[in-house]
Symmetry: C2
Subunit: 226 residues, 2 copies
């Protein structure tokens, strides 16, 4: 998908005086979504930990940078587990092959990101603000792959700015580009704001289906068959 | 996993008379689960169609043998979409590298399979009785892959004989073998028999989670971004 370039500055003409911005305190925040690589693992690990804290599920969190490095990025992008990183910057991003989507936000108050140093992206001036992890799934009725989104997360100070929608749209756009049949993910039934948001994005919330999970000792008990 | 060989015949000893089978009309049915290949697509297509009929969802069924052939079996087994085929036979199966699990059932009434000819497996004497389609998913908290089961189906005349459990156990056993963290699938909330069956197998039914699905025109609308 092409980049959404910032609007050009107004061009003065003899008939038209130079227009000052209506709000001189407006700040531009450049954002991009790009394909993650193994060098992003330290930031991805911190984001997953923040997600566990947010969901009050740190007792289930056992990922380490090493275990993420071993299990992610073993296949070409989109063929298996794939991560998109959301980055923000005070300056425009260079366009490169890993860029999926860019967008410029204009807002009145600068964002106070107290963790910007620890979320600096690979020593660059860009700050990691969120991520989405997804992988192919398959519909037998359609005989087509789709994408399943396992996690979508935006750091707290960057929320309510459309970044969640931007990450989800990036995955949906990639699915369309690849001719895939659907994009799926899960939501907690009491999270009515999220459900409303997803329905406004065009998703169906499938009320009758329940997820079954076999894990831990119950799963291990199936391992003795050999 | 190793094959569960049929029990040896009773060995007569001088102290012990030959014991006749308690029920002389008992029939042996040899069963195996094996990895599917692209040559199984005609049978897989018929099974998916039968599943659509059973679920009264034929209006959503658009898979063809050609579309299944194009989208399945493009990756080594277990790395992407993987199919296990359940076969039955009146004679023992030869053991080969594609065999995942075998089992011998003894039952009093022979199974009346009226579709046995159209479900004959690649011109052999074996009959295809069911399948399971699954693929890797990923837990960020565990930093481990798992398996997601998209479909599990047993043809009607082979139901209530433990084949569903056998297919599910085969996937769970494979997950354990690969060091994976979990196996997941979905069930309809009103299907209380299935829920009871899965819970008895050790699965948790996650009551709070709902699946969101973006498909059709709603998905296509995300494709114009460039």
């Amino acid at each position: 998908m092409a980049a959404a370039a910032p609007p050009p500055p107004p061009t003065p003409t003899p008939d038209q005086p130079i227009q000052l911005p209506s709000n001189p305190t407006t700040h531009s925040l450049f954002t991009r979504i790009r394909l993650a690589t193994i060098s992003d693992v330290p930031q991805i690990h911190k984001l997953i930990h923040q997600m566990a804290v947010f969901e009050r599920l740190t007792h289930l969190f056992s990922a380490t940078e090493s275990s993420l490095s071993t299990t992610l990025f073993n296949s070409p992008p989109f063929q298996s587990f794939t991560v998109f990183i959301l980055e923000v910057s005070q300056l425009p991003f260079p366009l490169d092959q890993t860029t999926i989507l860019t967008k410029t936000l204009n807002h009145e108050t600068p964002i106070n990101d107290q963790d910007s140093e620890i979320f600096r992206s690979n020593g660059s001036g860009f700050i990691v603000a969120g991520f989405v992890l997804f992988f192919p799934n398959y519909s037998t009725f359609l005989a087509k792959p789709g994408f399943y989104i396992e996690d979508i997360f935006v750091r707290e100070c960057y929320r309510r700015k459309g970044f969640g929608k931007m990450l989800l749209s990036a995955v949906a756009g990639q699915a369309v580009k690849m001719g895939y049949g659907r994009v799926e993910w899960c939501v907690l039934d009491w999270n009515v704001n999220a459900i409303k948001f997803y329905e406004e994005m065009g998703a169906d919330v499938m009320k009758e289906w329940r997820i079954c999970r076999l894990t831990g000792a119950a799963l291990e008990s199936y391992g003795y068959q050999g």
